[in-house]
């Protein structure tokens, strides 16, 4: 994770010199910060305070185990059952289900909606997440009407289901960063597909709810990628550690 950023605790006073100021843009607060009118900005979780002066925004990077849905998060969910007009999906075990409308798929109409079995994994986006309400998911971009890679992942009935692995929420976020190697310090997937891993062929879907789906032709590759991800997460490995891990796993599982 990025270093050099101050660590804050819940309820702590933030040093005013850390708060970015911009002549025109309003200050934007991200996850983990709360504005108490008129002038206080208070962290609500423990983590690293990150600021972006160009966008005049600040937020907190933290790791946790409980996923709280936030709009436009990409998540890997599991179908619980179908109701008349929506699927009920589990974001994490033992929490209230989210709804995924039958018509929230690419090109879906009342007659041509996808039929998903209970237990199927679906890669979706959180469309709506209000407090005290069940979250709503979608597998289609409302603006373009395209799926953009969202939808059911793998085909368990045909024997190519892939597998989902649990990781911590902070690690899932680092994997999802646009420049995950530079900003998040995670290069394990690139290494597996690149020189260190001997060019393994696999596909992944990283859910912000701490689940990563890995699919490949060969079961060995899926297990290898899954183990690499979980061990990187649990061991808190840096880039050099990840390189060594990938080399070791590839040697072990040849």
């Amino acid at each position: 994770m990025a270093t050099g950023h101050p660590i804050v605790l819940p309820g702590e006073t933030i040093d005013p010199s850390l708060i970015p100021s911009h002549p025109k843009n309003p200050l934007r607060l991200g996850p983990g910060l709360r504005h108490i009118p008129p002038t206080d900005i208070v962290p609500t979780v423990a983590g690293q305070l990150i600021t972006n002066p160009a966008k005049n925004s600040m937020w907190i990077e933290y790791n946790s185990n409980r996923y709280i849905p936030t709009p436009s998060d990409l998540i890997l969910t599991q179908i619980l059952r179908s109701t008349t007009d929506a699927y009920l999906c589990l974001l994490s075990p033992h929490t209230a289900p989210a709804t995924l409308p039958h018509l929230a798929f690419e090109g879906a109409t009342k007659k041509t909606r996808p039929v998903l079995q209970p237990g199927q994994l679906v890669y979706a986006r959180v469309a709506l997440a209000n407090k005290h309400m069940d979250a709503e998911l979608e597998c289609v971009s409302a603006a373009t009407g395209k799926a953009d890679g969202l939808g059911p992942v793998g085909n368990p009935a045909a024997g190519s289901g892939g597998c989902a692995f649990d990781v911590s929420l902070g690690f899932a976020r680092r994997l999802l960063m646009a420049r995950s190697r530079a900003e998040g310090g995670v290069g394990v997937l690139e290494m597996l597909a690149g020189e260190e891993g001997g060019g393994l062929a696999f596909e992944t879907a990283v859910g912000r709810n701490g689940r990563v789906w890995v699919g490949s032709e060969s079961a060995r590759t899926v297990v290898l990628v899954g183990r690499a991800l979980q061990e990187t997460d649990r061991g808190g490995l840096g880039l050099e550690g990840q390189r060594r891990l990938v080399r070791r796993l590839v040697r072990e599982m040849r």
Partner: protein, 293 residues
């Protein structure tokens, strides 16, 4: 009542498919256990067993009570298991789930009914006073292999446990405090341990040792063999599920013996280490006035 969350279709299909190729999600061999760790508490009779992410705590206690009327010469020995909601939201207090009932039944069958603890030695005054030994098993974290871990914990706790010394003089029973007299260990006859096999595939042809929680949810059958390091089988439990070939079961028991010998060695080693740590260097060392300062 909350139900246990089911694994997804993808995971179910993948676990079975990978096991057919002799692959497990954590990279273990099919007959390989996760690393088993055993530590003892400061008090006598507290054992903490971790098996991968599974963790079980066992605590043995003893008190003087009246024996059962139909068994005036026997002491009382009970095992109580508890799966708390901390382990999984599917478990509730005071409402035992099937997992919990099966776990306590298996432990009773393995440890109590195999006569591992000599209950006659717990008798103090025939028909009037006896020791009641109780082991409380707390499952702190559940990631499969509960029976195996819990059995190691129970056996370790009982072998580590020391009950207060007693004496009978002219019909008067005296129970000594640890300061007066060194507590005495229980009369332990043999150490039975459980080994659980899980079977996968359409005909249950793939046999796997120490299944994780995900694998336990996918398996088609399971079989628990309890035996001691001499190869004496105390019980075999195969409760429902797919039928399994008798030859496969025979192979399973012979592999189980190897594993039980490993666990027994670990148990002996840890007990010896703990004894050494508690050893203060004999009577003379205790009488010395010198101290670390």
């Amino acid at each position: 009542m909350p139900r246990e969350a089911e694994p997804s279709l993808n995971e179910k299909q993948f676990v079975t498919q990978a096991l057919q190729e002799n692959l497990r999600l954590d990279g273990r061999q099919l007959d390989q256990y996760r690393p088993l760790e055993l530590t003892f508490g400061d008090q006598y009779g507290v054992a903490d067993v971790t098996l991968g992410k599974t963790r079980v705590l066992a605590k043995a206690t003893a008190e003087v009570t009246v024996p059962y009327i139909d068994r005036p010469l026997d002491g009382i020995f009970t095992i109580a298991t508890e799966l708390s909601p901390m382990t999984s939201p599917a478990f509730e207090v005071n409402r035992p789930t099937e997992t919990e009932v099966l776990l306590s039944r298996l432990l009773e069958k393995t440890v109590r009914r195999s006569g591992a603890l000599d209950t006659e030695s717990l008798c103090l005054v025939a028909g009037q006073k006896c020791w009641s030994v109780r082991v409380d098993v707390h499952v702190v974290s559940h990631d499969g292999g509960l029976t195996d871990a819990a059995c190691v914990a129970v056996v370790a706790a009982l072998r580590h446990f020391r009950k207060p010394d007693t004496s009978m003089e002219a019909g008067r029973l005296t129970v000594y405090t640890p300061a007066e007299r060194e507590p005495v260990p229980l009369s332990w006859l043999h150490s039975p341990l459980c080994v659980t096999w899980s079977f996968f595939g359409e005909d249950g042809e793939t046999a796997v040792l120490d299944a994780t929680w995900l694998e336990e949810q996918v398996r088609v059958a399971s079989c628990t063999v309890s035996l001691n390091k001499h190869g004496e089988i105390c019980q075999i439990a195969k409760l429902g599920g797919m039928p399994v070939d008798a030859v496969v079961l025979l192979q399973c028991t012979s592999v189980a013996l190897v594993k039980v010998k490993e666990f027994s060695d670990l148990l002996d080693r840890r007990l010896a280490e703990d004894l050494k740590k508690r050893e203060k260097g004999g009577f003379m060392a205790e009488l010395r006035a010198e101290n670390d300062r």
